[in-house]
């Protein structure tokens, strides 16, 4: 008998619709602050292109054109690394086991990039992205049934609704005050090594920008290593494939 697919709309229940709403508000806030949206989909490049064209060239006349670019070269992590700046956005459309997406999502915190992950099948671990927008289905055909298309259409539609609420576009992080905000404190920030150490000091990229960090406790340090920075020193190195 003909294979039937579950219709995409049937997956959008209370939980996923709330996830989409929260993600859309974060998208709108970051766009409001000048973000560019980068999109990767190593397994299904057309989805990356569709998300980008959705934001760049809105289907509804009068809606703002927003900066968004599909990164579809063979190494999307390298592309996202050099393209992204603190405050930017990254959407991945991919399964939970896609190695390049797992890597990009881990590094995004060092890049200062807010992440969204759209997919189906087994879920990524909690916290793997800032927003995990997931279809809990074992059907491997989900990516070809319009279900992901529906999800990023909804994201786009909800994001533009948020622009009608300027009072809510101020990012909560703007309100951080010294000494009380974990986000802004120096408890252990993720950094990515830009330049190998000279005299024990490596140039490291964190969400705050670039800084020289004492790496003497780590031994050998290579470009693109992920490290935790505390009070001007690297305290540990994160394994690439934990």
């Amino acid at each position: 008998m003909t294979t039937t697919a579950q219709l995409g709309g049937s997956y959008i229940g209370v939980e996923l619709s709330a996830d989409l709403a929260a993600a859309a508000l974060d998208l709108a806030r970051r766009f409001h602050d000048g973000a560019t949206l980068w999109v990767i989909s190593p397994q299904w490049e057309p989805h990356a292109h569709h998300v980008a064209v959705e934001f760049v060239h809105p289907v509804i006349m009068g809606k703002r054109a927003l900066p968004s670019v599909a990164l579809v070269e063979p190494d999307p992590v390298a592309q996202a690394r050099v393209a992204s700046q603190p405050g930017d956005l990254l959407i991945a459309v991919a399964s939970a086991d896609e190695p390049a997406v797992l890597d990009a999502m881990r590094r995004a915190a060092a890049w200062g990039v807010l992440t969204l992950w759209i997919g189906s099948g087994p879920r990524p671990p909690a916290g793997a992205a800032n927003h995990i927008l997931w279809i809990d289905s074992e059907d491997p055909m989900v990516p070809a049934t319009g279900t992901f298309v529906l999800m990023y259409h909804l994201l786009w539609e909800l994001t533009h609704v948020c622009f009608e609420h300027p009072g809510l576009l101020k990012s909560p992080t703007d309100e951080c005050t010294d000494d009380v905000c974990v986000t802004c404190s120096d408890e252990g920030r993720l950094g990515e090594v830009l330049l190998e150490p000279v005299d024990g000091q490596a140039l490291v990229r964190t969400a705050k920008g670039e800084e020289w960090v004492d790496t003497t406790v780590l031994g050998e340090v290579l470009v693109n290593d992920l490290i935790l920075v505390h009070a001007g020193a690297a305290i540990t190195r994160l394994e690439v494939n934990p």
Partner: protein, 223 residues
Amino acid sequence: MTTHENTGFLYPFIESEESDATSLLDDLAASARGKAVESARLQQESLDEYAPALTEAGSQMAERFLRGGRLYTLGNGGSSTDAATLATLFSRPARGRPVAAWSLASDEAVVTALGNDVGFELIFKRQIIAHARDRDVAIALSTSGNSEDLMSAITEAKQRGLLTIGFSGHDGGRMAAAEDLDFCYTVHSQSIHRIQESHAILGYRLWSVTQEHMARPMSGTHA
């Protein structure tokens, strides 16, 4: 200004000092669910309306694939990405038999060469002239049904003996009236987003029917 304080709740959408996102998030989530319901309704309506025509087109596509035919998909903008997803479904399915298929928008060298040298309305037609054999299939996706670059390619494809299939929207546009289309599936909606979501499920059904026919034991041998 106390008047403002007292009446602000009446005008939440013009309240620039709005600071609690809770009600907005509730509204957004409700909006998402409403749109999702409409998306699924339209998909089901479209599948039901075109069930016999999808079955017929899918069996004709299978017959062409078994003769070595290949599939070209065509579309502009978001529909070009949906055309690419559809081509990938046929050429690299997660299960089933892969067949030759590609999107005619996917090669930027070819598209920009044709667009620059002969005009954007010919970017697909010129590729049909170059690639097509009489056993091939062309599927054009357009939410308006009016794109000139698709229509001229479909006319060329029909003249060359291809099986021609159109996915349209709104009132069907020029596609719905085109004699050069063997099959035309118009998704009756005013929303480009909802139309594209239905195009995807119609394409998926077409693929399913094609797979089913290609898995059937057939008598004789194939060329």
